[in-house]
């Protein structure tokens, strides 16, 4: 009897620990269950599709039509497509390597440009936007309500030899002859990437910069720091998580981007990793190779993702 009452009292105290403020008891699964929609979403739209990609990467091809045949049972999986694809990346004739290095270069350059431009814009709106903050944000974002494809097609027209960009540059006497922007130039692809993804940099930066406690900046100034020093020693370090978030958000999709290059260049000289995947998807018998490349890209992108998650976790625990 004594033991039973002791157990009861222990379980009561456990229940109490799960009680709300008003002493309402919730079962153990109550709060975690709120994550169920998120898990379901991830399961249906990420885990399952990714498993299909894996099944194609480890699968086979139709013997007649040469289209990809996913194999869903892991015990039947074959690694032949992986070894074939790895040979094209690391083998004696590693002809994918230039495109991979090029992609890395383009993404780093475009992400840094996004950061420089995006930071300046976000800083201005957050600090000096005043009552017009919302309007400025809407104006900045509004071009991006139009589909990416349409915007890139617009750029194709703007960048033509007789397009407005060359007209303006000539009007300003910056050039004497039209710049052949669309003839397979790396700079065009990089600027296209910057234009396409910069809102994803501006928004997190703005959201963070806008929340920086003004008293911290004032404290810096009171302690004798110049505006530049305050920016470098207070604002910039504080915005590191937003910079990281922005860099991750813009660079990850850039790695898989293929239509910017397709629309603005089309030259093999500017082929990116995404173009290789796209070409493989559209080629007979290359479905598994495309899937392998997707898996390789995902594994590669997990590294910055983990770094981002760890640094975010560190900054949260520091708070």
């Amino acid at each position: 009897m004594l033991r039973r009452s002791a157990t009861r009292s222990a379980s009561k105290s456990k229940r109490d620990s799960r009680s709300g403020k008003g002493g309402v008891w919730y079962p153990r699964w109550f709060w975690p269950s709120f994550a169920a929609p998120g898990f379901a979403w991830l399961g249906v739209f990420f885990v399952l599709p990714f498993y299909v990609v894996l099944s194609i990467a480890f699968g086979t091809v139709d013997p007649i039509f040469r289209s990809a045949l996913p194999v869903y049972e892991p015990w039947y999986w074959t690694g032949v497509h992986f070894s074939d694809t790895f040979a094209k990346i690391f083998g004696a004739n590693a002809f994918f390597q230039p495109a991979i290095l090029r992609t890395l270069l383009y993404v780093v350059a475009a992400s840094l440009l996004c950061l420089v431009i995006g930071y300046a814009v976000a800083y201005y709106v957050a600090r000096y936007g005043g009552r017009r903050k919302a309007l400025l944000l809407v104006l900045l974002i509004s071009p991006f309500w139009i589909s990416y494809l349409m915007r890139m097609l617009a750029w194709v027209n703007l960048l033509q030899d007789q397009g407005y960009v060359n007209d303006i540059l000539r009007f300003l006497h910056l050039i004497s002859a039209p710049v052949p922007w669309l003839e397979g130039k790396s700079i065009t692809v990089i600027l296209g990437l910057v234009y396409g993804y910069i809102p994803y940099m501006i928004l997190p930066l703005y959201a963070f910069l806008d929340r920086i406690d003004q008293s911290l900046l004032e404290a810096g100034r009171d302690l004798g720091a110049s505006p530049v020093q305050t920016f470098l020693r207070v604002t910039l370090p504080l915005s590191k998580p937003a910079i990281l978030a922005g860099m991750v958000i813009v660079s990850l999709p850039m790695f898989g981007d293929y239509y910017t290059n397709n629309l603005l260049s089309n030259s093999p000289k500017t082929t990116m990793f995404g173009n290789i995947i796209d070409d493989a998807v559209g080629s007979t018998g290359r479905g598994p190779e495309a899937a392998v490349l997707v898996v390789i890209l995902m594994v590669f992108l997990i590294v910055p993702m983990i770094y981002y998650m760890r640094s975010t976790a560190r900054s949260v625990s520091a708070e």
């Binding site: 699968g59 086979t60 139709d62 013997p63 007649i64 039509f65 040469r66 289209s67 045949l69 996913p70 194999v71 869903y72 049972e73 039947y76 094209k88 004739n93 002809f95 994918f96 230039p98 495109a99 090029r102 033509q160 030899d161 007789q162 052949p180 669309l182 003839e183 397979g184 260049s265 089309n266 030259s267 093999p268 000289k269 500017t270 082929t271 173009n275 290789i276 070409d279 493989a280 559209g282 080629s283 007979t284 018998g285 290359r286």
Partner: protein, 430 residues
């Protein structure tokens, strides 16, 4: 005109297929059994007998199956039907399809694909009820072996015998035209801007293919984003006329030449360069199908003949260049097979096919379409079918004797071609 019918991806080639089919009679049941034994339980590998690679000197009679018979003669067209057409984008003038439907009291719906790979991946599942399909000749062996197409009942299609070129009365890729009728014919040459490259420059060259490699036109040169066409062009440049070669040395030679194109002229690979971008001035030179050169008229900014005169088309004077044709066929799952037969016949009618030609730019193989007059006779669009300065884009029946066709490749040879193309597309360094 987003994508003209001109991506022609996978084909299977001869030697390999001969080997595959070395004893097609034995292979048919064996392949099925093998697939059943080897395939993993969840895969949906195509159950098909082996088929041989059709070649002009080794014609293929596509197999008939009891389980996949042709429709009977004398049937009435389906009533209140919607004819489901599965076609390349912008490869059929809707006005012609509508006039067919007015005649037979039906509706039509066009579903499009951008390349044959995409079309095959959908149609091979046999889950779509398309009534009419537009395949290329290089996939006929696969499609018929897998019973995806139904045999034609010739009673419904008298226009083929009456109107089409003799070369298509019993074509090598489908002897006795059991499964297909011809739709259009084309050659592959070079389209150029005459205002930047005078006719005598390109026509006066010993090897005009080399003009694409001329650094003078750097940044203004395009080729088709199509592995067969691009590699074939590089083969022809080197004097290799077997456009279905299985020799690695020849494929490598072509690949290196393509990579050289990147270094010398920063070539771009497009699918709309010939008919849309060259008229706009983005290219001075572009590999081109004859039909794209003809259709380019619709994409000339000013819609004036004066401006359009700036576009020229080169094809070898001796007509020894790449040539090809596309087909119409009826899937075995067609819901409206009688209407589909009537549609094929309708499209082989002289007036209907020529009206369609005036819009799509691709010429039908019609006996009455005198090649000498196509540049002068007015089409349904109020202009000649082809402007006089594009006379070399007219396809003649004799081109199929002098020219070279890109045909089906075996999987292993196709792999070689794809590897070469992949290396080029990845921007490999020479």
């Amino acid at each position: 005109m987003a994508t003209h019918p001109r991506e022609r991806p996978s084909r299977l080639s001869r030697r390999e297929f001969l080997r595959l089919s070395a004893g097609a009679a034995v292979a048919l049941p064996t392949t099925s059994a093998l697939l059943a034994a080897c395939a993993n339980p969840t895969t949906t590998a195509t159950k098909s007998g082996a088929f041989k690679l059709a070649r002009p000197n080794n014609p293929a009679t596509l197999p008939l199956f009891d389980s996949n018979p042709a429709i009977k003669s004398g049937l009435q067209p389906e009533k209140n039907a919607t004819l489901q057409i599965y076609n390349w984008d912008q490869y059929l003038w809707k006005k012609v399809a509508k006039s067919f439907c007015d005649k037979y009291n039906c509706n039509f719906q066009i579903t499009t694909f951008n390349n044959m790979d995409e079309a095959l991946s959908k149609i091979r599942t046999n889950q779509f009820d398309f009534d009419v399909f537009f395949p290329t000749i290089d996939v006929m062996g696969k499609l018929t072996g897998a019973k995806i197409l139904q045999p034609l009942n010739h009673d419904y299609i008298p226009n083929l015998a009456a109107n089409c070129w003799p070369v298509f009365q019993n074509p090598f890729y489908d002897q006795k035209w059991r499964y297909s009728v011809p739709y259009t014919v084309y050659t592959t040459g070079i389209e150029y801007r005459r205002d930047f490259i005078p006719d005598d420059v390109i026509w006066g060259m010993d090897n005009p293919y080399e003009i694409l490699w001329d650094p003078k036109y750097k940044g203004k040169v395009g080729i088709y984003d199509d592995y067969r066409e691009a590699i074939s062009m590089a083969l022809l440049k080197n004097g290799i006329t077997d456009l279905n070669t299985s020799k690695p040395s020849e494929i490598n030679l072509a690949k290196n030449d393509l990579i050289d194109l990147i270094n010398k002229v920063n070539v771009r690979a497009t699918i709309n360069g010939a008919y849309a971008k060259l008229p706009e001035g983005e290219f001075y030179l572009h590999q081109s199908w004859s039909g794209d050169a003809a259709a380019a008229w619709f994409y000339v900014p000013h819609y004036t003949q004066k401006y359009f005169k700036t576009i020229g088309y080169w094809y070898p004077k001796d007509r020894k260049g790449a040539v090809g044709n596309d087909l119409m066929a009826i899937p075995s799952r067609a819901k409206n097979p009688v209407l589909a037969h009537l549609f094929l016949n309708y499209m082989l009618d002289f007036k209907n096919s020529m009206d369609n030609f005036s819009w799509v730019g691709y010429q039908p193989p019609q006996v009455k379409a005198d090649p000498g007059r196509l540049t002068t006779v007015t089409s349904a669009q109020g202009e000649p079918y082809l402007f006089p300065w594009l006379a070399d884009a007219v396809v003649r029946e004799s081109d199929f004797k002098t020219g070279y066709e890109e045909l089906e490749l075996s999987p292993s040879v196709d792999n070689l071609w794809h590897n070469a193309w992949e290396e080029f597309k990845a921007g490999a360094q020479a």
